[in-house]
Point group: C2
Chain length 221, copies 2
């Protein structure tokens, strides 16, 4: 019985991989760079995106976002205040986004009209790791309030991510956050992983992060 | 194909429910009260348990813990410092604990020798909601750093929990935490849910929380 379940799940994953490959082709053809943001619930994905979108739009960049949540369209409403086109994906209980949800929610959008598309995944450090969404880069956020050990405890997610963004750095002292330990643990799971230190509240590190987003693909990796 | 997957998953869930019912019978026969702690990664389950176990052991209570993580035995080592018997459950990628993992890791323990058994679930606000572990009460933690909206965004987990513990209250001012909004959102998802306000760092609210744990079953609900 358990073998049977595994076989069927593998089938589901392969179907997602195929759809994701198709999405990746569409994104590249349209010239839009796509970032898939993953993290724990409450690590600050929406706050980082709010400030990022606002800056990009102010600087004349054409940015858009898809936002995943089990329920509510709170995040889409928050992000839409930036002026960027934003759509909410409600998963109604599903613990991750899948490529077919992305396809469905792109309908009617002209991808060639965007420079950058963000996908804010469901807050979950486990399940979204297994689902390619056709992104150029997977970005994992780690807030200083969560503890430095999270990369070791959730290696699948941190290893499958290309870049890490430390968030809420303004709270680092209050949390007695050990930056060296966090960097060591990130690099233990994903050697040489690029790491940004940010605070969406104070603006710390936002310029470097945004410059990274705007780099040509070959310089980003 | 998708119908097939759903049927098999339903089968898996029912098997868990049966095993959980058996566990519940064993726990009641042994006179041990069992609490299943669920939350986001980094919400402070281990820190709350460290202080809780230390106090219980100092007061002569017989407390033990099972600790779930995808990888590492960091948490079991942290909790064992209290002097309580502690065992680590490594799920190796599985995003939640299941009743059969509990059974396996109880082997060789005399349950009648414990007053209280804690199960620290995998940090995940989605998937553990669907898996009964035979507990008396499911306790959901919400740290003030995560934001007040989490109950609305993860209603399955908050609705299926009996009690909420707000953690890291020492950081509430720095995070501009809106306690009224958090309570309103918790009660929107689970009306009249009992809520504790705590800080494992300062000790705030720990006495009320521990007194609750020690209440007879009929007064706890």
């Amino acid at each position: 019985m358990s073998t049977r379940v595994l076989e069927i799940r593998k089938g589901v994953l392969n179907k997602n991989d195929l759809l994701a490959a198709g999405l990746r082709g569409r994104f590249q053809a349209a010239g839009v760079t796509v970032f898939n943001l993953v993290s724990s619930p409450g690590a600050g994905k929406t706050a980082l995106l709010e400030r990022t979108l606002r800056t990009l739009i102010e600087e004349g960049r054409r940015a858009a976002a898809l936002v995943g949540d089990l329920e509510t369209d709170n995040d889409a409403r928050r992000l839409a205040a930036s002026g960027a086109p934003v759509r909410q994906i409600m998963t109604h209980g599903c613990c991750h986004l899948e490529a077919n949800m992305i396809s469905t929610h792109l309908e009617g959008w002209d991808l060639a009209a965007f420079d950058v598309l963000f996908i804010e995944n469901v807050g979950n450090l486990v399940c979204p790791a297994g689902y390619d969404l056709g992104e150029d880069s997977r970005i994992v956020l780690l807030s200083v309030t969560e503890g430095e050990d999270k990369p070791l405890k959730y290696p699948g997610m941190f290893n499958s991510s290309d870049v890490a963004v430390l968030t809420k750095m303004d709270l680092a002292a209050a949390c007695e956050f050990d930056l060296d330990a966090a960097v060591r643990n990130l690099h233990a799971v994903r050697p040489a992983m690029r790491i940004f230190e940010t605070s969406a509240k104070t603006g710390l590190g936002m310029r470097q992060w945004i410059d990274f987003l705007l780099q040509p693909r070959e310089r980003r990796s």
